[in-house]
């Protein structure tokens, strides 16, 4: 039942995802690995700036960079994404279930046209 070991560094993960450029980098990496140079190109920002973003993503466990080779291509780490998915899925499932039930209650208590004043 205890799943805490499957919840690594979630705070770092959410911080990493808070930035639009970093989210765009992840979207790019979802299509395959890329070097800093390749990543910098579409964003019109400097390679050092991209490198800083990559460090944040790396610390959050979302990407890894190859150790060998001067270009050090980056790629997505699937488990980092899945850890976020798990928690958000739980929240979403609970809320969807609650609100579907609320829909039914609203349908009963407030008819489509003029809702009768309750109590």
């Amino acid at each position: 039942m205890v799943r805490s070991t499957t919840q690594p560094q979630l705070d770092a993960l959410f911080s990493a995802l808070a930035d639009p450029t970093r989210r765009a980098i992840l979207t790019r990496l979802a299509r395959g690995e890329a070097t800093v140079m390749q990543l910098a190109k579409p964003f019109d920002i400097s390679q050092p700036a991209i490198s800083r973003h990559l460090k944040v993503l790396e610390r959050a466990g979302l990407i890894v960079r190859s150790v060998d080779g001067a270009k050090r291509p980056c790629r997505l780490v699937k488990t980092g994404v899945e850890a976020i998915d798990q928690w958000l899925s739980m929240l979403r499932e609970s809320l969807e279930r609650n609100y579907d039930q609320l829909d039914e209650i609203l349908a009963q208590t407030s008819p489509p046209k003029k809702g009768k004043e309750k109590q």
Binding site: R23, D85, W87, L88, S94, L95, E104, T109
Partner: protein
Amino acid sequence: MTKLTLQIEGERYVVVTRRFAASPEAVYRAHTDPTVVQKWCTGPEGWTMPVCINDAQPGGKIRYEWADGEGNGFYLTGEFIELEPFQRIVHVERMHLPDPTPDNHIETRFAPDGDGTLMTMRMTLPDEKTRSMMLSTGMEHGMEASYVRLESMMIC
């Protein structure tokens, strides 16, 4: 198809939106009447809310108790901070699992949207420890089928 959106905002917030086919007044009332809250806010499949205290006035207490019918349960306490009838509710809540989690500060807005209501709920992201505890209460039951796609988080 689904009417619910769930997005990360900044570093510390989760924003949920949901559309309802009823007036803001009706949706607001459904959030502030304990006999109604008890019917819909039951959480995971198979769970119920046997105790629902919801004193919708500034400083008013909130206490929700959930049970799965098999001896498992947890509860939530909180206080209302601000209420603007039919438009906005601000409250804090914490879960007791059984130790209390850090306060979750929640703002819920109800806005007219065509002939219905767009509800926007902005909540504090629980810390890692809290999330782990939530995942270990059994609240994850039945969650395997559904996955939030990373792409959907990237629109925000």
